[in-house]
């Protein structure tokens, strides 16, 4: 590795603009004649719309237009879709209810958009939005998935009887049942996986501009995947054909999944721009973010895990009810199925696995992928169950895991996934050593003297990243391919631009991706620019989610680099009168190996563009593109150990130690990877201790709609992490990398809850483990 190449801890190139307030976000975009939008939103969780009167609002100062769903429908704008078809076990397709960008006949959750007001200023738009009179006939609401499935529950979509979206299964139910009935021991656990609000620092925003002269649309938006946004808006929502729609996702301040999806606001602002003749900008306020960003998690699950007399796992049976909210968001159907149940083997050899999943409509915000997406839910239930089993069996939690680890690869699980590489014992050992696991009893005794209850818990997670082989996901119902695309453009002076379909919204791509180029051609990092987030600049792309930018996005770049390197070597061989196979690229020099014959990298580039002396028949230029379609998922895995002290008087938990030993395969920039782990664990601790989304079950009002009531993790809620890595390179991609973006959020919640339940000696505890809940669990 060079000082800027693969493996180097290079400081992030993008941070200067971010930490000096010079980032350029959607709300920073200003175009001539731009006006401001506010949405009229439902104050009710469930109501029929009897009429909308916009007369008073239209007469308010500064108002340009008040537009409703009927007008939108009249212009042929389509309904929002879920892009992954899941079939129920009886073969029937999922029951996708109609999601109009502006509700016409019915509202289904608090925050559902009903109309848009365009005005000279944001406050005028808001004032007028309050003056729009919507005649609602309130209907009974239901917010919890289990309640929504009960007889007599309010019916939310006509085509989803009993609010059931699908009833799906995976694995071998008979085999799992048999394992359970033959078991020496069965551990049974009820699991609640709490609903989370994503809370990206930058709220969602969009600016829609219609150019009448060109009949062309531009959409600036807070998106993790601008090309997908363009595809979906043109192919399904009929906003504009792809060649007439440019989507730009400039700097984006965090997404965590919530900015994958195309929301009503982008569509409506683009349409409103054409309708009104002015560019239309909308920026969510924090309340709108709480109410309308797609939420995460929200599962209710029962687990049965069977063991033989030797404490080997023989079977696993899981039954899950997942709350998808009022509408099916873009990837919502895939999260509690293929991103969840396919990981239920964890790090363990479990011969028989069966999982049944019912997804349900409720009168709450739509639920979709949130950092980890399905894998945190799988990991949480498995690792809570294994820990519980160890307690019931009276064996060490570490040894129970060790005994059941998968040790030979590739390993075909009973739930589709084929693990390609890993060494679970290595991460377990590394974590236990760093945590001084053996010294825990002494620390516990010392804490007892101070009146504190100390506990230790672990979690051995596995997840699947690098989504995904297109053919495989296609066969499972995905509506798109999940490749990535890259173009490497060497300029005539030797500087390099990489155009990538990945999108950075905090991940540090501008640095990591540039390191690949610096490493390959020996050019300084500063001469490499990463271009992303604009469908007019970047050829194609599928975007960033599921920790795919490394394994898939960078693999596409590597493929393009390979082509550029090959051509550069051909040019150099020609100029140096050498054989192409003798050419090497080192430290910015293109050399004939073992001689002093060399050209500067920039000289080769210049020759490619002057084209005065190229090999016969070669095209000028030094620019290559590539698509990369992965051949498998990647399987990051690791072991997290959490140690807590609980104050028995108040129930407050303090995390006194947190150790992470991750195997992400090869690592490009360890500093950025550690940052991803830190952030992920912070969110995992948030889920475990702090973040609880609460809807009033009667009225469907969101009770945690601001930071006064929704507890975001603050710096003093989290400890200083001890992070380390073990490495088994990923065999399926050229860099041997697995992905690191979500592991922290996936692996940490069960470690925290295992530690608290260990400390208090009561296994009955749900997330978030607030002081009140822990106190109750201790004192009954």
């Amino acid at each position: 590795m060079g000082i800027e190449g693969i493996g180097a801890r290079v400081a992030r190139k993008e941070d200067k603009r971010f930490i000096t307030g010079k980032g350029r976000y959607t709300d920073d975009m200003v175009v001539a004649g731009m006006k401001h939008a506010a949405f009229v939103r439902s104050p009710h969780a469930h109501a029929a719309i009897k009429g909308i009167n916009t007369d008073a609002a239209a007469k308010m100062p500064g108002v340009i237009a008040v537009l409703t769903g009927d007008e939108l429908a009249a212009d042929g704008i389509g309904s929002l879709i879920c892009g992954w078809m899941i079939h129920s076990k009886d073969g029937s397709p999922m029951n996708m209810g109609d999601w109009r960008p502006l509700a016409q006949t019915k509202v289904r959750y608090v925050g559902d958009a009903v109309a848009i007001v365009v005005a000279e200023t944001k406050n005028q738009a808001r004032d007028a939005a309050e003056a729009v009179e919507v005649d609602y006939e309130q209907l009974p609401a239901v917010t919890e998935a289990v309640a929504a499935l009960k007889d007599g529950a309010p019916q939310i979509h006509d085509n989803a009887p009993g609010n059931l979206i699908y009833d799906w299964e995976i694995g071998d139910g008979a085999a799992a049942d048999e394992a359970i009935s033959n078991a020496a021991h069965v551990t049974r656990v009820e699991i609640l996986n709490n609903r989370l609000v994503p809370n990206a620092m930058e709220p969602r925003a969009t600016l829609g501009q219609y150019d009448e002269a060109e009949d062309h649309y531009t959409c600036w938006t807070t998106s993790q995947n601008p090309h997908v946004a363009r595809l979906v808006m043109s192919a399904f929502y009929s906003v504009a054909p792809e060649n007439k729609l440019r989507v730009i996702a400039p700097d984006v301040g965090g997404g965590f999944g919530s900015k994958i999806y195309i929301y009503p606001e982008e569509i409506v602002c683009l349409w409103a721009s054409k309708k009104t003749g002015v560019p239309v900008k909308w920026v969510a306020d924090r309340t709108e973010s709480f109410l309308t960003d797609a939420h995460g998690r929200d599962h209710v699950t029962t687990v049965e895990m069977a063991f033989d007399a030797d404490n080997r796992m023989t079977g696993l049976k899981v039954d899950t009810i997942a709350n998808l909210g009022a509408y099916m968001s873009l990837f919502s159907s895939a999260v509690p199925t293929y991103l969840y149940a396919t990981l239920l083997s964890g790090q363990y050899t479990i011969p028989a696995i069966h999982c049944n999943v019912r997804t349900v409509y409720t009168n709450t915000a739509p639920v979709d992928a949130y950092r980890g997406a399905g894998r945190p839910e799988a990991t949480y239930l498995l690792e809570r169950t294994v820990e519980t089993a160890a307690r019931e069996l009276g064996v060490s939690p570490a040894e129970l895991r060790r005994k059941n680890f998968i040790r030979e690869f590739p390993y075909q699980t009973p739930v589709i996934m084929n693990y390609d590489a890993g060494d679970y014992e290595a991460s377990l050992n590394a974590a236990m050593k760093t945590a001084d696991y053996a010294g825990f009893p002494a620390r516990k005794a010392e804490a007892e003297k101070r009146g504190k209850k100390r506990g230790i818990g672990m979690s051995c997670y596995i997840e699947a990243c690098g989504i995904a082989p297109s053919q495989a996901v296609g066969s499972l119902g995905a509506g798109v391919g999940l490749w990535e695309s890259a173009e490497v453009r060497v300029n005539a002076v030797g500087t390099v631009e990489v155009l990538t379909g990945s999108h950075s919204h905090g991940q540090g791509h501008e640095t990591t991706f540039a390191q690949l180029v610096a490493d390959r051609f020996g050019v300084p990092l500063d001469s490499v620019s990463i271009v992303h987030g604009d469908t007019d600049k970047v050829q194609m792309g599928m975007g960033t989610y599921g920790s795919r930018s490394g394994a898939v996005g960078m693999s596409a770049i590597v493929k393009a680099l390979d082509k550029v390197e090959k051509k550069a070597k051909m040019i150099a061989a020609h100029l140096l009168e050498a054989d192409e196979t003798d050419i090497v690229i080192e430290n910015g020099q293109v050399k004939v190996a073992g001689t002093d014959k060399a050209l500067g990298w920039h000289e080769v580039a210049l020759n490619a563009y002057t084209a005065h002396n190229l090999p016969a028949g070669m095209e000028p230029g030094l620019k290559e593109g590539a698509f990369y379609d992965p051949s498998n998922f990647t399987f990051p895995a690791g072991c997290y150990i959490c140690e807590v002290e609980v104050d028995p008087d108040t129930g407050k938990t303090e995390i006194v130690q947190f150790v992470a030993a991750d195997d992400f395969g090869n690592i490009i920039n360890p500093m950025i990877v550690e940052g991803q782990v830190h952030g992920g664990i912070g969110q995992g601790i948030g889920q475990a201790l702090l973040e609880g989304t609460s809807y009033d079950p009667e009225t469907g009002q969101l009770l945690t709609a601001s930071y006064m009531d929704y507890t975001m993790p603050r710096a003093d809620d989290v400890p200083s992490y001890k992070v380390s890595h073990t490495v088994t390179p990923c065999p399926s991609n050229p860099l041997g990398i697995k992905g690191c973006g979500e592991a922290g959020a996936i692996g940490s919640p069960p470690a925290v809850i295992n530690a608290i339940t260990d400390a208090i000696g009561n296994n009955n505890l749900t997330m978030p483990a607030t002081p009140q809940k822990v106190w109750k669990a201790m004192h009954g």
Partner: protein, 264 residues
């Protein structure tokens, strides 16, 4: 935020006059409660009368045990006053745990007590210290000033100008913050002076800040945490919400009271 008109008052008199001529005016001090409320469109005063530039409302004076804090004094100024810490460390430590640094540099003691949020910290100190609230019209004993959740004895055009109290022999404040807002879920200020012990509780009570008289009596004869062992507040009088049930708050009141006594 709805449109409003901003007025900067140079004196208490001018502020009162501006208020009288406004249709629906509001005083603004640090703005840490009022401005967020306006941004959420939950308050819509047509006039904002800014008190921050009135010199008379500023400053802390400590003469022996006599303490006077101007209404416009920020939480940061109270928290960092060495003079005040020397005679009444409970109040400086209380101020140092309000909100975050931004809030402490803007928010004021006058604004906090005028607002009388049931989870705000200062009201407990005012009650426990037996403070007097000075206004543009009169002097009001703290016991008469706080009249219920978000309710005070203030009239619409009445301005808090200062608070004053005699520093106790010993005092301390112990707070269990709401995990989300970090206001008090239960905050207990204990002060021991010549006229006995006062224990005031914020964040937990259904009617806002209150004095826990049974604890005061027990501590009057035995000023130690152990004196509270057999006591408890009635959960029936406590707040219950998504963050804490009444039972949990009742427990916190006792735990925080013991910790305050131990720290005093």
């Amino acid at each position: 935020m709805y449109e409003t008109n901003y007025h900067r008052a140079g004196s208490v008199d001018e502020a009162a006059k501006l208020m009288d001529s406004a249709e629906s005016g509001k005083f603004v001090a640090g703005g840490q409660t009022l401005i967020p409320t306006m941004k959420q469109r939950l308050a819509a005063p047509d006039s904002l009368i800014d008190l921050r530039h009135i010199a008379d409302l500023k400053g802390i004076s400590v003469n022996g045990k006599d303490v006077r804090i101007g209404a416009g004094t920020t939480h940061y100024e109270v928290a960092s006053s060495a003079d005040l810490a020397a005679v009444c460390p409970g109040i400086t430590s209380l101020a140092g745990h309000i909100g975050d640094p931004h809030v402490r540099h803007m928010g004021t003691i006058g604004g906090s007590i005028a607002n009388n949020d049931p989870a705000a910290d200062y009201p407990s100190a005012m009650l426990a210290l037996g403070a007097t609230i000075h206004t543009s019209k009169r002097d009001i004993a703290a016991a008469d000033f706080f009249t219920g959740m978000f309710e005070t004895a203030l009239e619409d055009d009445e301005i808090v100008t200062a608070v004053s109290f005699t520093a106790p022999d010993a005092c301390a404040y112990s707070k269990f913050p709401n995990p989300a807002s970090r206001y008090a879920m239960a905050g207990v200020f204990v002060a021991k002076g010549g006229d006995g012990v006062r224990v005031a509780v914020t964040g937990a009570g259904m009617d806002g800040v209150f004095r826990w008289e049974a604890a005061e009596q027990a501590l009057g004869s035995n000023f130690s945490a152990g004196a509270l062992d057999g006591l408890s507040v009635d959960a029936g009088d406590m707040l219950s919400d998504i963050h804490g049930t009444a039972e949990y708050r009742a427990n916190l009141v006792k735990v925080m009271a013991k910790r305050a006594v131990a720290a005093a």
